[in-house]
């Protein structure tokens, strides 16, 4: 177990370095720089700016300096939000994205699992059919369409929730629902498939034969096995959901990391974009790692090597 973790850590360092290198050179290969604006800079002033951010040096030299900064934990100042450091931007945005993401995840997992189990148990019924239809629609509809429908329904027609903003529980409901809906749909479909698979296995028949109550068979004996595929789907999904979604955050004006992600790239905010890419990499990697570990917890047959 410890050797496993140690090896994973080494791989993570390697992955981070590769991601860092690729993003660094990709970002600088794109035409346009962070100081391009509609009003041209005086050459003198541009030179100073370039010097301040080390952009006057060769690419290799810049790369060396920036890698050094990252190793010492200094992500630098944002080029575009000049009053903030990259660390501050992340520190303000990440909790918001995470809170929204967790809430969305909670909705996604509970609705998804419930729907999946019900569909599997009552396989072939009208309930199964309509639940899976909803799930397919949930996967097919893009976020912003769901968001638009939700806003029209629950902010304008039936004014239950505010159309946007952040800070109170009722401002959390609509965005969390819209963010979680596609994940709920995926979870439902995966849970159904794996549940059907498990339900046909020998140990379930044995449990039934022993006279275990049907509810207990489904929730204890079958569910545990059926959870594995759901968990492996959730790992990477969690990383994505926690770092925020551009669309949902824009539509609901939520101050999370999602919009930074896209804007940093389009505005050539090299430092902020790099910080976010690295953060995402760490999260994604950690979540996959946790998923691998949770296999061992959920399924006694799995050994970590």
């Amino acid at each position: 177990m410890i050797a496993f973790c140690f090896r994973r850590l080494l791989w993570m360092a390697l992955t981070l370095w590769i991601v860092f290198t690729i993003s660094f050179f990709l970002m600088r290969a794109v035409p346009g720089g962070p100081f391009d604006s509609e009003r041209a800079l005086e050459p003198e002033i541009e030179k100073l700016l370039m010097k301040r951010y080390n952009l006057d040096k060769g690419l290799g030299e810049q790369y060396r300096i920036e890698l050094g900064n990252y190793l010492s934990g200094d992500f630098g100042h944002s080029f575009k939000l000049t009053d903030y450091t990259v660390n501050e931007v992340i520190a303000e945005g990440l909790p918001v994205s995470m809170a929204l993401g967790l809430f969305a995840l909670l909705l996604a997992v509970s609705f998804g699992l419930l729907a999946g189990i019900v569909s599997a148990v009552f396989r072939g019924s009208w309930g199964d059919f309509s639940l899976m239809l909803i799930a397919t629609i949930g996967i097919a509809l893009p976020n912003f369409v769901i968001a638009g429908i939700c806003i029209v329904l629950f902010a304008f027609l039936i004014p239950l929730f505010p159309p946007a903003g952040w800070g109170s529980i009722n401002q959390l409901v609509l965005p969390a629902f819209c963010l979680g809906a596609p994940y709920a749909a995926y979870v439902a479909r995966i849970a159904r498939t794996s549940m059907l698979d498990v339900l046909s296995q020998d140990h379930i028949r044995t449990a039934r034969a022993k006279g275990v109550s049907p509810l207990r068979v489904v929730l204890v004996h079958a569910l545990r096995g059926a959870l594995l595929p759901v968990v492996s789907f959730l790992g990477p999904a969690v990383a994505g959901i926690l770092t925020g979604s551009l669309v949902v955050e824009q539509v609901f004006a939520i101050p999370g990391l999602g919009s930074h992600f896209v804007q940093a790239a389009t505005q050539r905010d090299y430092t902020l974009a790099m910080g976010l890419v690295m953060l995402y990499t760490v999260l994604l990697y950690t979540m996959n790692w946790l998923v691998d570990m949770s296999y061992a917890v959920l399924d006694p047959r799995v050994r970590l090597e």
Partner: protein, 628 residues
């Protein structure tokens, strides 16, 4: 019952989940603001010297104040930090008498020294103020802000010495004053050494950054320095006494008093800037301001909460106590917030919604599009064939149906235009290009060697990615195809690439727009002088340059306008650009908001606004009749 460790893990995870949601959302509910507006994208900074966008302008004007401020309706400069002023006969010297009651938010008085300090900081090359040229009307200001490029042997100069690496980054190094003897290029490196006579002895300085200066000894006989630049005492700004300031200009500048009320020229607090350094001084807990409002807190991409300043000299006339500026990027979200009463002012609804909102019957009482100083135009790259041929440029302009563009695509009553300078500047007569005439266009194109468009190269129209720009480009493509028989492509690039393509002149035809910085034709016309930084067309005319230069030295406002009119005439005859339409403002303002005026620059100071829920007639915003 024995506790299963796996169940325990499950429950504890659920617990963590709920706790974190509670932590992220509880305790953040805010008391509501008196006035909430959508400020667009997150601002770059609150430092007046380094920002240049509209969202920044709204915040900076709320928290800082200059020598003058703009009347919210007419935009005429009115007294602010300066209580009164005198202008010399030759219009070159302005003497400002400052208000005794003006205070910084830390309680200290705002003095002429603050203005001097801020002006030096604004102009200093190390501040990297993109808008520094707004202060180049001051004598020698341009040369000062050009640093080492702005000086020549014989000039009085100042040498700024290096500071230790760990010094506060806003402090200036020790200054040596002297006379520049010579500038010597160092072979290979392209760097320069400055020989300066200080106290009767010649010394040699080489500019370098603090890091290098601290870790390396300079070569013998040379001293490190941060920079060598014009002696700031040569710049036309002078403190007579703590409450009297004299500014001397390069040339008569009729709009100078408007510039002193323009946000890049606002003063900042020296003590605050130099105690905390950049960017820490801009944190709400450190920031010292002198405007009608102060910042209570900032949340990135959420809001800036402004509260009325208790130290502002005119605080009794500021009606709003708490103002929220929401950072909302999406127009649709802004409109949703406005319609549900969560915002009182939005700068623009989404174009598609605007069309519907304008058609409502009875007409809405919160929407009143009004023309302002902004123009949308296409640039032509006159370095490329066949756009170097005036007949071709003329043909392209004559074949445009601008009316079709404004009625089919634009929705707020934008007006088709044939001139660069928008109407509305009193005393100035805009110079128009030729009206639409497809037959003449075809004739000209044939004359230029492309009868019925045959042999015309497949040019492309460059625009930055946006639905509206795309729709216009497509329509223009069709119009040219229809009238001239030429086939054109469209090409979109996202913002940064688009700007760099224009700068490097890698385009044939490109969309562009310009919003006037001040109410004067010069803000539009001086873009197109030879080598002008906005003139990415390759076009140049000596006569045009001469007229703009002469206008800059003309004392008589009438004669000055006549010169500028002549210049615009040349531009509209030669057509390196094709004007397409003039902008209109698209604000939506709740009927209970008072003191909000439609004006020609679409700026709306918060200090003039108040809330009057009993109001049942049209407010100031609706009173100005929109153009039919």
């Amino acid at each position: 019952m024995p506790v299963n460790p796996r169940t325990l893990i499950g429950w504890s995870m659920l617990g963590v989940l709920l706790a974190s949601i509670a932590w992220a959302t509880l305790g953040t509910s805010l008391p509501p603001a008196d006035f909430t507006f959508i400020n667009g994208t997150e601002i770059k900074s609150v430092d007046p010297a380094i920002v240049n966008g509209s969202p920044e302008q709204r915040i900076v004007t709320a928290i800082f104040e200059g020598l003058t401020r703009w009347h919210p309706e007419t935009l005429e400069p009115i007294p602010a930090l300066a209580e009164s002023w005198e202008i010399s006969e030759d219009q070159l010297t302005y003497t400002f008498h400052m208000r005794e009651a003006a205070r910084w938010s830390d309680g200290s008085p705002v003095t002429a020294h603050d203005i001097l300090y801020s002006m030096r900081r604004f102009l200093g090359p190390r501040t990297v103020a993109e808008y520094a040229y707004q202060a180049w009307y001051l004598k020698n200001a341009r040369r000062y802000s050009l640093g080492g490029r702005g000086i020549a042997p014989g000039d009085k100069v100042e040498v700024e010495l290096n500071l230790p690496v760990d010094a506060i980054n806003t402090l200036r190094g020790e200054l040596l004053h002297g006379k520049l003897v010579s500038i010597e290029e160092i072979a290979d490196t392209g760097e320069r050494e400055f020989v300066v006579e200080v106290d009767g002895s010649e010394q040699r300085f080489r500019p370098t950054d603090d890091q290098d200066a601290a870790s390396n000894d300079p070569p013998t006989g040379i001293g490190w320095c941060r920079q060598v630049l014009l002696d700031f005492r040569e710049v036309g700004i002078e403190v007579i006494d703590p409450l009297t300031l004299r500014m001397t200009l390069e040339a008569p500048t009729p709009f100078f008093l408007k510039l002193t009320g323009y946000y890049p020229l606002f003063p900042v607090n020296q003590k605050c800037v130099e105690t905390y350094g950049s960017p820490l001084w801009t944190k709400p807990e450190n920031l010292v301001t002198n405007g009608p409002f102060g910042i209570e807190f900032r949340r990135i991409r959420d809001r800036i909460r402004l509260v009325r300043s208790e130290t502002y000299w005119n605080r009794d006339e500021v009606k709003l106590g708490v103002v929220d500026a929401l950072a909302v990027d999406s127009y649709t979200t802004g409109l949703n917030l406005f319609l549900t009463g969560m915002a009182d002012w939005i700068v623009t609804p989404p174009p598609a919604a605007l069309r519907i909102l304008l058609k409502e019957d009875p007409p809405r009482n919160d929407l009143n599009p009004t023309p302002f100083l902004g123009v949308y135009y296409y640039m032509l790259n006159t370095n490329r064939k066949p756009l170097d041929d005036l007949r071709v440029r003329k043909a392209l302009s004559l074949a445009l149906d601008r009316e079709e563009i404004t009625t089919k695509i634009m929705s707020a009553g934008e007006t088709p235009c044939l001139s660069l300078v928008p109407p509305g500047i009193e005393g100035y007569e805009t110079q128009e290009s030729f009206e639409e005439n497809p037959a003449e266009a075809r004739r000209l194109l044939a004359e230029a060697g492309f009868p019925e468009g045959k042999g015309f190269p497949r040019l492309d129209i460059l625009y930055n990615t946006s639905e509206a720009h795309q729709a216009i480009a497509e329509l223009i493509r069709k119009q040219w195809q229809r009238e001239l028989g030429i086939s054109i492509k469209t090409r979109n690039e996202e913002w940064a690439s688009y700007l760099s393509s224009q700068r490097q002149m890698q385009y044939n035809v490109s969309r562009r727009a310009w919003i006037g910085d001040y109410t004067d034709p010069n803000t539009f016309l001086d873009m197109f002088v030879t080598e002008g930084e906005q003139n990415n067309t390759g076009w140049s005319s000596e006569e045009y340059d001469r007229l703009i230069r002469e206008a800059g030295h003309e004392f008589d406002p009438d004669k000055r306008f006549r010169l500028l009119e002549k210049a615009e005439r040349i531009l509209m005859d030669e057509l390196p650009i094709l004007p397409i339409y003039f902008y209109v403002s698209k604000n939506m303002v709740k009927p209970y908001v008072r003191g909000f005026y439609n004006n020609i620059q679409d700026v709306h100071p918060l200090w003039a606004i108040w809330i009057d829920r009993e109001n049942d007639g049209p407010n100031e915003f609706m009173k100005v009749k929109a153009r039919p």
